[in-house]
Point group: C2
Chain length 474, copies 2
């Protein structure tokens, strides 16, 4: 048991990809599934996902969303009802052709996303303006057959939430698209301590079947971007394909307007690659499965374990996720283990501390050790967890700001992304120039920032129409 894992993690600066693989496997967040491209989310990883779910459920409920569950298998013919949608998703679906020992009359695809299924049901349920708006959210597994996969970041099957709503007017649906993007932004900041760029995606990068896609992008440790959530305005595209019609107040039959939004287990990858370091994970307190670990010092001395248990009970009672490590391992081994697992706060408690009414408190983000009075434990630890959230966020924000540069030429753009930067540049709006950037710099447009402060298109030199963030991306 007495072995330290830390030495087995690749160096984060020299081999970030290997560091990531080492960390996710050795901390038991995840394992590879037996079918290529699948993952098993182990309890330590799944607990992060449950914390993410709880935080979102509260926020979605405040926005009027109700959870529901729709079928996994979608008839292929549904996918084809929206032309762009089927073109985008058909190449990556898994197809069920047999059930109950017989060949099916129509092949069914394992949902890659549920617009077509939910659209079909909304078409059935919505009759009158009184039925609108409809807001539902689903927590589910989805499947997209991917060639190159990495745990959490890109897997054939993943878990996600997909919110779907329908409105009587375009204005309401557009406003909802923005609103849910803001919910994601606020969640990322406060729960994941992760600053994000939000904005509209280009035509090339938008969701298949949407009128407009808005995304949030986060900068990972290596300067690459991770798309961490999207919100799509569908206009009447899906309403027309799935007959989502209602009788308006004026008695006329009208098509509704729909939107959808989703985040996935990819967020766990985002957390790891935003905050991790050479000692392993650094988990933001709000979603950390264990927020505080208590390590007894000289655990066999009389009164030590009792004092640790009493402290554990007090913190648990205060709503803090606390774990007492009373295993046989040495304190040093435990320090390494829980640092690798990214637990935000460690408390050491030994005979001298107990006698002095104190505890030794270390924070995972800064390795500071401080003494604190045991009698104030609840308050001290709560404040500390808040401080850690804020300082993790500030640190990540500073990195993103320092590593965001402007470019006025393709060469500047290439130099920027080569140094691991987000590059802000003008763009004329044409697909050819977007493709040219990709070819020249292996960078893609992430989001448009909504302004047009640049003068010229970085690729063709013509008048700029949008300021775009370009980056290499996961």
């Amino acid at each position: 048991m007495e072995k330290s894992y830390v030495s087995q993690i690749a160096d984060i600066e020299t081999d970030f990809a290997q560091w990531y693989t080492d960390v996710v496997l050795k901390t038991k967040l995840v394992d590879y599934g037996p079918v290529k491209g699948t993952m098993v989310i182990r309890p330590y990883g799944y607990a992060i996902w449950e914390n993410i779910q709880n935080e979102f459920n509260r926020r979605f409920a405040e926005c009027g969303y109700e959870n529901a569950y729709f079928p996994l298998l979608i008839p292929m013919s549904f996918m084809s009802k929206e032309a762009e949608h089927v073109e985008g998703f058909a190449p990556e679906v898994a197809v069920v052709t047999h059930g109950g020992g017989e060949k099916l009359a129509e092949p069914l695809c394992v949902r890659p996303t549920s617009e077509t299924m939910i659209g079909t049901m909304y078409g059935k349920w919505i009759e009158s303006w009184r039925d609108l708006p409809v807001r539902m959210n689903q927590w589910a597994n989805v499947m997209r057959w991917e060639k190159t996969t990495r745990p959490f970041l890109r897997t054939s099957e993943f878990l996600w939430q997909e919110g779907h709503s329908a409105f009587a007017t375009a204005e309401e649906a557009e406003a909802e698209t923005q609103k849910m993007l803001q919910v994601y932004d606020e969640f990322a900041r406060t729960c994941l301590a992760m600053p994000v760029l939000t904005g509209r995606k280009t035509e090339k990068e938008k969701f298949a079947g949407a009128v407009a896609t808005y995304g949030m992008e986060a900068m990972m440790h290596d300067g690459k971007s991770l798309q961490s959530g999207t919100s799509h305005y569908m206009g009447q595209n899906f309403a027309k394909a799935f007959d989502i019609k209602f009788t308006d107040k004026d008695g006329a039959q009208k098509y509704g307007y729909t939107m959808s939004f989703g985040v996935s287990t990819r967020l766990i990858g985002a957390i790891i690659m935003t905050h991790g370091d050479n000692r392993g994970l650094v988990l933001p307190p709000v979603v950390a499965p264990v927020q505080v670990v208590i390590v007894p010092i000289a655990a066999r001395k009389e009164g030590v374990l009792e004092a640790c248990r009493a402290l554990e009970a007090r913190l648990k009672n205060a709503g803090i996720r606390v774990k007492l490590d009373d295993s046989d391992n040495s304190p040093g081994w435990k320090f390494n283990e829980w640092e690798m697992k990214g637990v935000p706060v460690r408390i050491e408690l030994g005979p001298r501390d107990i006698e002095a009414g104190k505890m030794v408190v270390s924070r995972r983000d800064g390795y500071e050790k401080n003494e604190a009075l045991l009698e104030n434990a609840e308050r001290e630890i709560k404040d500390l967890l808040n401080d850690i959230s804020v300082s993790l966020y500030e640190k990540a924000k500073e990195r993103m700001q320092q590593r965001t540069v402007n470019a006025e030429s393709l060469q500047e753009l290439l130099d920027g992304v080569n140094r691991g930067n987000f590059v802000r540049a003008g763009w004329c709006g044409c697909r050819e120039c977007e493709d040219k950037v990709k070819e020249f710099a292996q960078a893609t447009s992430r989001v448009m920032d909504g302004t047009n402060t640049a003068k010229k298109c970085v690729a063709c030199g013509k008048k700029s129409q949008h300021t775009v963030f370009f980056a290499r991306a996961y």
Copy 2:
């Protein structure tokens, strides 16, 4: 809007099947999915499921279970590693043959249950006696291709939890099998107000691949039985098939012992068919999405809505799931609507009540109307919700007791099940006699009660080995 649904529900005594369909559809618990045999769980139904999940998560955590997530698709070859298992499940699996536009090298089945997948991972993870026991639970969708389906009771896709654990010894695994059955029993009683019979299943009725299956059976309104949860002792069957081996303290390599247990969205069907009546649903308070509905009387009179909102806020604050129905519908319409939806408690609040500092409180199970002091609302309502849980349970228990009879011959057994009874009878233990009962009385063995109080086998007249509960079943 002003239409009462109640008249549209079939009579529960004369056409129970139609009553069930009417209730689940009209209360918007569920709808039919577009693919035959699938269901859409609508928000009102899904909220019950979420309450069930929360109650189980707390109980499972206390038993040492951690949630995890395993892949949906299982290679066909895994299924075949346990001979009985593949024989039992192969006929009802849905099969993915194509992914990403290409035919797969090996067909994959959509999990009907995860023993093979989780067994494979346990085989990889478990090395030493120090790794045992392992206890994990998964909340997931599963698929079993069914010919005859009914919402919640039997659908091609359903949601469930499956707990899987591995131990060093047979004794521990057997004890866990019993323990989790008891957790189900306690949950059914306290959360669903549903009395159950628990006991071992016969060889014929056991899980494919298990050494022993234990089940819990509940009596529905029509006297038929619904299998509501099962716990399986696997012995070393799956350990040997999936190489779940560990190095024991003595240095020897040994196979582990495994068990699994599961309940599904079927429980929602059980609730409906246990407690419902001619006015619709009757939901047990612990899992009811709305525990209390407040209906304003003379809502336009000054102060009424304000008082209702204040009461709503107080009850919410006390942890009660409360809804204020401030819609434009008449009080009478609202009474019908919320009765149909099975909300346990209704509060009426009008100008005179407010002036007198009182509220009118009705309970869904008994239609009693009582006055209570507004100032005691939190305590009154909490006590009332508890009372309702208890009295729903007592009522269902009394029915089950009254409708459980003994039989000493096939004719008596047939008469019993014809009258909607559970029939307790002796059984010699042979498959032929079990089949004979089924043929003669269209009844199956539900569970053995663990005793052998009957003298003779109900079918062949030879010496009885087990006392068995026979019933018609869903």
